[in-house]
Symmetry: C2
Subunit: 283 residues, 2 copies
C-alpha cells in the first residue's frame, strides 16, 4: 500500500465549505458573503435526506461525516456546519475525524445570547434533536453558569417555513403555542436555534414582542468564521467577489427558490450530488 497524503495545509484561495441538512443553511451563506465578500463558498444541502431534526445522533453523525468528506474532496479550507442539529450532535465527531477547522453555529449563538441577556434568562427554540442534545445549554453554561436556559422544540416550524407560510394564521398560532410558555417564564433573549428560523424572523418578532432580543445564529457564525480565517491567515486576498457553488443531494426542493429570493443570493445553477457511505469509505 502506498501512503496517501490526507491533509494538505490549507491555502487562502481554497473555498469555505458549508453544509446543512437542506436549504436553511443558506442564511449562514448570506451572512458569510456579507462579512467576507471575497471568499469562494461551496455549499452542500442534503435535501435527499432532510430533515435531520427528528433523527438520532448515530444517523446525524454518519450523514455529517459523509458530507464533510465530500467538502474535503472539494478542497474546503474550513468547514462550516450551518445546521444547528448537526452542530449540536455531530461537531465533536467531525473534529475528531478531520484536520481542517470545523465551525458550528451553537458556540457563537451561545456567546451572543450571554452577551445580550440582562435578566440572565435565555430561551432556545430549535428542532427536537437540537433541544434534546442540550448543546446550547452546555455552551451557555460554559460561559456563564448563572444564566437560566429555557428550551422549546418547535418541530412544525421547518415544514411551515418550507411551505413559505411566513405569515399564515396557522404559523402564527403555532408560534404562540411554542413561544407563549417561554415568554411567560420571563426570557429577555431568544436564540433562533435552527438555520431555517431567520426566514421567519418577522413573525417570531411579532409574537415575541419588542422586549425580547432575537439572536440569529447565522450572523454570529459568520463572525466566528471571519475571526478564524483572520487568525490563521487564510483570508482570500483576491481582488474580485467570491464565487458561490451550490450542490443539493436531491433536485426537487420546492423551498429552494423561496430561500434564494428571500436571501437575494441569485443562484443560477444548482448541482445534484449523491452523498452516501461510499464517499466516506473512499477517504
Amino acid at each position: 500500500m502506498t501512503t496517501l497524503e490526507t491533509s494538505n495545509p490549507s491555502r487562502p484561495d481554497q473555498p469555505i465549505g458549508v453544509f446543512d441538512s437542506g436549504i436553511g443553511g443558506l442564511t449562514v451563506v448570506r451572512a458569510i458573503k456579507d462579512a467576507l465578500p471575497k471568499e469562494d463558498i461551496f455549499y452542500l444541502g442534503d435535501t435527499a435526506r432532510l430533515p435531520y431534526g427528528n433523527k438520532d445522533r448515530t444517523t446525524i453523525e454518519r450523514y455529517s461525516l459523509e458530507i464533510a468528506g465530500l467538502l474535503t474532496v472539494e478542497g474546503a479550507k474550513v468547514i462550516v456546519v450551518a445546521c444547528n442539529t448537526a452542530s449540536a450532535l455531530a461537531l465533536p465527531r467531525l473534529q475528531e475525524v478531520f484536520r481542517v477547522p470545523i465551525i458550528g453555529v451553537i458556540e457563537s449563538g451561545a456567546r451572543a445570547a450571554v452577551a445580550s441577556t440582562r435578566e440572565k434568562r435565555v430561551g432556545i427554540i430549535g428542532t427536537r434533536a437540537t433541544v434534546a442534545s442540550r448543546a446550547y445549554e452546555r455552551a451557555i453554561h460554559a460561559i456563564d453558569p448563572t444564566v437560566a436556559v429555557l428550551s422549546q422544540p418547535c418541530p412544525l416550524l421547518v415544514p411551515l417555513i418550507e411551505e413559505g407560510m411566513f405569515d399564515h394564521s396557522v404559523t402564527i398560532e403555532m408560534l404562540h403555542h411554542y413561544l407563549d410558555p417561554l415568554i411567560a417564564e420571563g426570557i429577555d433573549t431568544l436564540v433562533l436555534g435552527c438555520t431555517h428560523y431567520p426566514l421567519l424572523k418577522k413573525a417570531i418578532a411579532g409574537v415575541a414582542g419588542d422586549e425580547i432580543v432575537l439572536v440569529d445564529s447565522a450572523e454570529n457564525c459568520a463572525t466566528s468564521v471571519q475571526k478564524l480565517l483572520s487568525e490563521s491567515e487564510l483570508e482570500n486576498q483576491a481582488e474580485r467577489p467570491g464565487n458561490l457553488q451550490v450542490a443539493l443531494t436531491d433536485s426537487s426542493n420546492p423551498f429552494f427558490k423561496t430561500a434564494d429570493r428571500a436571501l437575494e443570493l441569485n443562484i443560477n445553477r444548482v448541482q445534484t450530488r449523491i452523498v452516501q457511505g461510499v464517499t466516506l469509505a473512499a477517504l
Copy 2:
C-alpha cells in the same frame, strides 16, 4: 467469477416484505394482518431518510431499490410498497429489477375509487411527489377514462400527523385549506393517497362530510396481497399467528409509539438497520 443464484422460487413460509419511508406504512401492515393473520411480515421503515414526499424520482427510485434489496435478503416472497410516493414513482423500476412480485398501493386504491364514485368525480390527496406523478390519475383512467380526477397535494399533513395533532385546530384549518376546493368541485369519493392519512381519517371525514366516501389505500392494498398469494399458492398454511418484525433506519422516531398504539400492533422490539448504496451494490 462464480455465478450467483439470485432468484430462489418463493415458498409459502417466507415472510411478506413491506416498506415505507417511515411509520405510515404500518397502516398497511395492520390491514394485511387483519386479512392474512398467519403471514409473517418483515417491515422496513426508512426513518433515517424520511419523508420521501418532497423528493425527486431519482432519489425515491434509489432508496426503493436499496430497501427492496434488503427485503430480498430477508427472504421476502412478495414485496409490498406501503408508501404512496414510492409506489407512484418507483414501482416500474422495482419491477424491472426484482423477480419477486411487487405490489404498490396505487392500483388497488384506484380500483376502489372507481368502484365507489357515482358522479364520476374522484378527489386524490397525497404528498407533493405523489400528486405531481399523476400516478392515481393514470391508474383510474386505465380503468375508466370518463372519471374526473381532482388532485391536491397536502404537504403539511404528514408533519401534523407525526406530531400526533389528530384533532388540533391547526390540523382542522389545514384540512379545510386542502379539502374545501375539492368539495366545491363536487367530488363524491376521496382517496387517502398517503399511508399516514388513515390515522387522520376521523378529522378528514369530519371536514369532508357524510356525502363523500373515503378510500383507504391500506385496506385495498391488503386485499390485493391476499389475492396474489392465493393465486400463486403462496399463502402461509402455518397453524399459528404470523410474526411481525419491524426494522427502522433511525432509532428515534417520536411518531412510532403513537402509531403502534393507534394501530394496536403491540410491537415489542424494533431493529435498527442501515440502508444505503452498499446494500444494493452487494446484490
